[in-house]
């Protein structure tokens, strides 16, 4: 069972190197090998969006990528968003101010989906924000405060 491969990748700007089985999912690699438990695992079939990370800067589902596929690629997780331990990314700040989360399970995936969205669409309409959120499930908030947070962040980031 031990057909492992060497994996060299960069996560949140730092080099990471491990021996992994090909069947290890990127989501599990981040959580169990690197201890980056901010990447949450909800459905494990690409529906809920909680495990979304940036793969070379682009939001993708880490439960639908094998860890070995991250070889020589750059991964950003929710832990890599703020510039320091006492800082918040403007979108994180907006979620805090506008009550954009309750339990927080879906929040990391939403942040990593919406940050590139806001970079491409600095002045989105409410409908555009709702569409951009359609691949991320939240079971607490009813989305209203999430939408408020994103619109507030867009304003503060412009």
């Amino acid at each position: 069972m031990s057909n492992t491969r060497r994996l060299r990748t960069r996560v949140n700007g730092e080099r990471a190197e491990s021996e992994v089985e090909p069947r290890l999912l990127l989501s599990d690699y981040l959580r169990h090998e690197l201890g980056l438990t901010g990447t949450h695992v909800g459905c494990e079939h690409g529906v809920c969006g909680a495990c979304t990370v940036l793969f070379d800067g682009v939001p993708q589902r880490s439960c639908l990528i094998l860890a070995v596929q991250a070889e020589n690629h750059e991964i950003t997780t929710v832990e890599g968003l703020a510039s320091g331990p006492e800082e918040l990314h403007p979108l994180q700040q907006a979620f805090w101010e506008k009550h954009g989360l309750q339990c927080g399970f879906c929040t990391g995936g939403i942040l990593l989906t919406l940050i590139p969205f806001l970079e491409e669409n600095p002045d989105p309409s409410e409908d555009e924000v709702r569409l951009a959120l359609s691949g991320n499930l939240c079971r607490c908030t009813g989305y209203q405060h999430i939408v408020d947070s994103v619109l507030h962040a867009a304003e503060s980031m412009r």
């Binding site: 494990e44 979304t52 682009v58 993708q60 639908l64 990528i65 094998l66 070995v68 359609s134």
Partner: protein, 294 residues
Amino acid sequence: MKPAAFDYVAPDSLEEVLAVLAEQGDDAKILAGGQSLVPMMNFRLAQPTLLVDCNRLSELDFVRAGEGGSLHIGAMTRQRRVEQDPLVARRAPLMHGTLPYVAHPQIRNRGTVGGNLAHADPASELPVIALARDFEMRLQRAGSERRVAAKDFFIGLLETALEPEEMLTEIVIPPLAPRTGWGFTEFSRRHGDYAQVGVAALVTLDASDVCRQARLVYLSVGETPTDAPRAAQLLVGTSLDEEAMQAAADMAAEHEIEPSGDIHASEAYKRHLARVLTVRVLREANERAKQAGG
């Protein structure tokens, strides 16, 4: 919810991929974007012995203008890139207009055109577009290539004309005839979910706005993307008035699709949806055809 163990290779060239398939095709499974395959592996609905990761094949990542207004797309081109390519918008407007309906942006960021087509899910949008626009599918095996029309490519539920030693490497989209309009729409409970019914329409008009050619293709109403040639034939020779569109919609919904009921929608409801969406999409196609040049 974790994949069973498998052997894994990630070749750097198509030649190497085809060599692996030639030797171990029966046991091998190609990993493209993995947005359908990996969920199936997580559920252990798929347990390949050998996974051939094609994500390093940059030679299959391209969008190229072909002769006479045609368009070539490499199988490993990400859906999101195709969606944002201005050449695709010009030469394959139906595909361009339909890609935003494919799952979510996070999925399209990784999912590939070739992977989606080779997966042949009848609920998926791209196979419908492939059939409606008569895509040519280029299939390679070590040392040879064959070209298969979309209508001969999709042969069953998740089943295509691909042999175990073959890989879908490229698609070719023919140019649209002058004065051709297109439309696509679908109904799903949430944006990005699998649609209950969807339909693509193409209509070609003559100089006096009479319909000379028409095509209607449906998703989620059978085991493969479903053509409705009799409905389309009812449109030819008409000026695409409401009555003609309604007659075509009735024909397709009653006689040419075979939807099965599920927890969200009964068979009767899906036929009703097909009828309503057909008229809607034909109106759109007609408007676009009237504006189209040529």
